[in-house]
């Protein structure tokens, strides 16, 4: 078994002769199966920690909802159900194209993998643009978390004043606090995912993803589906609650 100089030799991707090994196999693994098993297990453990992280926010949401049910009902009416629903469709569509991209990498369809990753990336971009539209509407209206909360009510042009409702404990500011933190953390995950998808497009372009080795794209896919999963719960809880 050759050791420290892995990756230097073995120019042929599928090669695994007696003294040779595939380029993707790192020297500290015995073989590809072991490497893949380790990478996938690591990914699933990471996804478990992601769930634990988001669970804290979901718990905060439920506690808040239990303490101020009427406030949550009132505040959530200010979110745009339609845009939230469009984002749900966009994200689930991107999950489909991501899953199909992994499949086309498994079946050595390099061109198709590239196209599907591009569609996934565009969906992610669409999601973020819609999120931006939603956020800027909230910013303009003054429905911000905590002490930043200053809801615009109306203009009185005769006296030259804007009538503004400041926040109070138990008021809408609490709902927008949890809304911005949850969707914000989710949005950061989408941005990270976009970076990972671009990375996968590069790897695919370089011919480093194929039926013998597709663990990277598979793990990025797992991450992307988790981002979708979180949104599947965020959407009904934040936008549709009754």
């Amino acid at each position: 078994m050759s050791t420290a100089d892995s990756g230097v030799h073995g120019s042929d991707h599928g090669a695994h002769g007696h003294d040779d090994h595939p380029v993707h196999l790192q020297h500290h693994f015995d073989n590809s199966s072991q490497q893949e098993a380790a990478a996938k297990l690591g990914m699933w453990v990471f996804l478990g920690t992601e769930i634990l992280m988001f669970s804290g926010l979901f718990l905060a949401y439920f506690v808040l909802r239990g303490m101020y049910p009427e406030m949550v009902l009132h505040a959530h009416e200010q979110l745009n159900k339609e845009l939230g629903a469009v984002n749900t469709v966009v994200l689930i569509l991107s999950s489909l194209t991501m899953a199909l991209a992994v499949r086309s990498a498994q079946t050595n369809n390099k061109e198709r993998t590239n196209q599907l990753l591009l569609v996934t990336l565009l969906c992610a971009g669409t999601f973020m643009v819609i999120k931006y539209i939603e956020y800027s509407a909230k910013f303009e209206h003054g429905t911000l978390p905590g002490s930043f909360y200053a809801e615009h009510i109306s203009y009185n042009l005769e006296r030259g004043v804007e009538v503004v409702q400041k926040g109070w404990y138990g008021g809408d500011q609490l709902f927008f606090g949890i809304y911005f933190v949850m969707t914000g953390l989710h949005g950061v995950h989408v941005l990270v995912g976009m970076g990972l998808i671009i990375w996968m497009m590069k790897m695919n372009h370089d011919g480093r993803l194929h039926s013998g080795y597709f663990t990277p794209i598979e793990n990025v896919g797992l991450y992307w589906h988790l981002v979708d999963l979180v949104w599947i719960f965020l959407f009904p809880l934040l936008y549709l609650v009754k």
Binding site: N31, V63, N80, K81, H152, L157, V161, S211, G212
Partner: protein, 180 residues
């Protein structure tokens, strides 16, 4: 090339890929199912289900999650150890929720003075303040007046469904309504 052992036996072809590849049709069917459930959950939210609304919405979300985990994430065909790791984390989430709610929901009963609202009550922070009037900067005021003179709406972001921040249109500007 090192020898690989699976359950104590020499395993041949460890560098060959033996992966389960799902047909495209399955992926499309799962996607269709997810779309159907999304439409369902939105429609259900318009029906007044009262206290059943949250459990129904959560049930639909869990079914959707099951589809994504089982098929898109391929867990149905994956090593069961991965499922164990993943669902193991969910067991701990359940413990987290359970213990927190045991605390939160029993506070008022055991120590009323420690109740959830006690701090805000003591600080006088739980009272909704009257709306404040904030002077509009001269430039913005001139712009708003010009808009009104031109017959354009200057109100944005109504109660619901006007997220794009422009041309809301339905609420005409009414200077008299200030301070309601």
């Amino acid at each position: 090339m090192g020898n690989a052992y699976v359950k104590g036996k020499l395993a041949p072809d460890v560098d060959e890929a033996h992966h389960h590849v799902m047909p495209v049709k399955t992926y499309l069917a799962v996607f269709a199912g997810l779309m159907f459930l999304t439409v369902l959950t939105v429609l259900v939210s318009y029906a007044d289900l009262g206290s059943a609304a949250l459990p129904v919405a959560m049930a639909v979300a869990f079914i959707k999650a099951g589809f994504v985990i089982g098929y898109f994430m391929h867990l149905k065909y994956d090593t069961s150890f991965h499922a164990f790791v993943f669902f193991g984390s969910i067991v701990f989430v359940a413990i987290f929720f359970l213990i927190t709610f045991l605390d939160i929901n029993t506070r008022d009963a055991t120590h009323p003075e420690w109740g959830n609202h006690a701090w805000a009550r003591d600080q006088g922070k739980d009272i909704k303040p009257d709306p404040e009037e904030i002077e509009i900067p001269a430039e913005k005021l001139a712009m708003l007046r010009a808009k009104v003179a031109a017959g354009e709406s200057i109100e944005h972001g109504g109660e619901h469904g006007a997220e794009n921040g422009s041309a809301h249109g339905t609420e005409a500007e009414t200077p008299e309504e200030g301070g309601h």
